[in-house]
Symmetry: none
Subunit: 214 residues, 4 copies
DNA sequence: AATGAATGAGACTTCATTCAT
DNA sequence: TATGAATGAAGTCTCATTCAT
């Protein structure tokens, strides 16, 4: 009652909240988001199910915060390198990219859960399959271009994946329901044509194409 | 015997199967994979729940086929342009990328469901948010590099997204559980260092950095 | 229409009916009664599901007839030996028992399905467990009695199982719902006391107890 | 922590668990194992379906425990008489058999469900019918043997049932899939010939045949 | 008469959320 | 305040039976 503002309590609550998030993160890292159930989580933490709801209004909120926590760390780490480190932008870009890859590598399964979230196992299989299918198409083209002296690409498979990712990601923003709603509400939003142009230029340059095409 | 192979019957069956897939695709496009339930789907199609199981052994199989159908179309369309159209590789790459974007645009929400699969709605929100956060970091760097004359980038926001996508996607393959298993079984597999190098080169070139860095 | 009594048709129908029963028997022998489904059976026979219902009103009827067919064969074989063969009753009894065991042995899984029908796998496990538990109790007693020179038993484990079976089976009749109903309807029926006495005498003699106890 | 081990709570839980088992037992006794469904059971107990799963992992586990509970009581009761009571082995055997019969009698339908588990009602009918058919064959032989002074049998019908039970039960063990697997894996296991011999001797003695036959 | 796709009730199971203690 | 048993809606899947073709 006269409880709610006791500093000691606030402190304890904060600690508990973070312990919950820590356990949840561990669960997601080990078994993906689908293994994050409230009962199992409460058990991990050593508290009652109902007590979770003192700290999070719903499971969705909790899951979102788990995602945010994990991603937040990565964004912070990236910020340090990209903004705060020495060297030219190109050096920092290179360094940032490499660090990102190295960090993801060191927490493989968490990174996988964050980047490629599982829905149904069979669907996941398909996703990997089609990602490779796209990649292969680009890969063939890259090899051909390299043979003609038109492209400069050392590892066509990796570069092909990069192209797939670049294309997909550049579209996620504009395609996302919020962006959509914005557009329909008349608010300013990126146009497809602009994205398309920028994307094409990006890809051509990335593969070392001789001259920038329109 | 009389009946079993009647063309009319086969035709009707094929049509029903495709009608089911069609309705399922619509559901996924409208509400993501999480809105694809057998009861709701059967209701959409106007048949009994059990009847779905005459055409698909399990929900997973159905969902996988929905994914495959939708993705397959895109892969096919891309193949035509990338492999079968006229022009130099660079021209074809450019054309392919633009077509991909245009097609995704025309089926916005399905494309979104395929590229950025929903888990819990709140988690999805976070994903978009953090994708932007990553993007913003890169964007700042791009702007800085452009100001210094080090990078050549017209639409920093889009290019930043491309970078995020390229990085994530190039890692999805090596990070995926199957790739993992392969590595642990001693089978050959792409090494992180190689990916990392190729990735860095890719990014630097894509942003028009003057000189290729290590 | 003028169809129903054509001899040829009747003949064909009889043959089909028996083919159905044959396939059903095979199914039960291979996978127990739980693997007997109408769709699978129709598939085995090579006819339509609905056609099964021309020969059997319901699945229950079909299953009952499968049971009857299989058991009928055994009863017939037993009758030949018990009634129709040469030798004294004791010789015939001995011969009949041995034949029964040998036949069951040669169609192990069908015999098991008939004698110890599966319900739920876990329940089955328990049944076997408790049959052994009963058996062990009797076994201990037999060993003790043999040591005291009171019983004459060569294979206590087998004899213990025989005791369990004799007791259970002698009760199945009187315990069965039909027998019950008969009793309640005032119709004559075996009394528990009589069964109990006969059972005890049977068991004592069977284990070679020196003197018949009351 | 405050709560988790409260005696009152543990007591209530135990009571609920036992209440569930009690209701399940009643269901099985009344309608056999096939009438034991989770929805119906939850309804009987007056709780939600899902609550059953707090006490039992699956329906199979629950059903197995019902079986075990009921059978366990009988085994315990039998043990007391067979092992723990006074008198010679023969006296104890006689007493045990009679007690078993009396107890089964007092819970007629449960005993019936345990001893002769229902699959499909119609199949059950057949089983009873054929048990009688076997019995009748033996009965005739017994009557004949008695008339010749070769057998000593007071109640041929009951003794005939005992013979059927003894034969079936002595075979259930060796015929059971586990025993099978053991044999195929080369592990020692009872041989048919041994069972057959012991069985024949058992039966001949049990019917008071003058001389032991091979 | 034969077909077999369709039916649809009903079985088991999971899990976010609530609320009496 | 914390607890955690209970809830109950919702999901997937099975299969005997029917009936239009």
């Amino acid at each position: 009652m006269a409880y709610r503002t006791t500093p000691a309590r606030m402190d304890r609550d904060l600690k508990l909240r973070e312990r919950i998030l820590g356990c949840a993160l561990k669960r997601v890292a080990d078994g993906g988001f689908s293994s994050l159930t409230m009962v199992a989580l409460a058990d991990d933490v050593g508290i009652a199910t109902g007590s979770l709801y003192r700290h999070f209004h719903s499971k969705g909120e909790l899951a979102a915060e788990v995602f945010a926590t994990a991603s937040g760390r990565e964004v912070d780490a990236l910020r340090v390198v990209l903004r705060g480190s020495e060297g030219s932008p190109a050096e920092r870009l290179s360094r940032g990219v490499r660090q990102f890859a190295a960090r993801a590598w060191s927490s493989r399964s968490l990174a996988f859960a964050l980047i490629a979230e599982p829905v149904e196992p069979e669907v996941d299989e398909q996703r990997l399959f089609y990602r490779e299918a796209y990649g292969e198409l680009f890969c063939d083209l890259l090899v051909e271009g390299v043979a003609l002296g038109e492209f400069q690409v050392g590892q066509p498979r990796v570069v092909a994946a990069c192209l797939v990712g670049a294309i997909a990601e550049s579209l996620v923003g504009p395609l996302s329901p919020p962006a959509w709603a914005a557009r329909e509400a008349g608010r300013p939003s990126v146009e497809l044509a602009a994205v398309s142009d920028a994307l094409a230029t990006f890809c051509l340059r990335a593969v070392g194409a001789k001259e920038p095409h329109p």
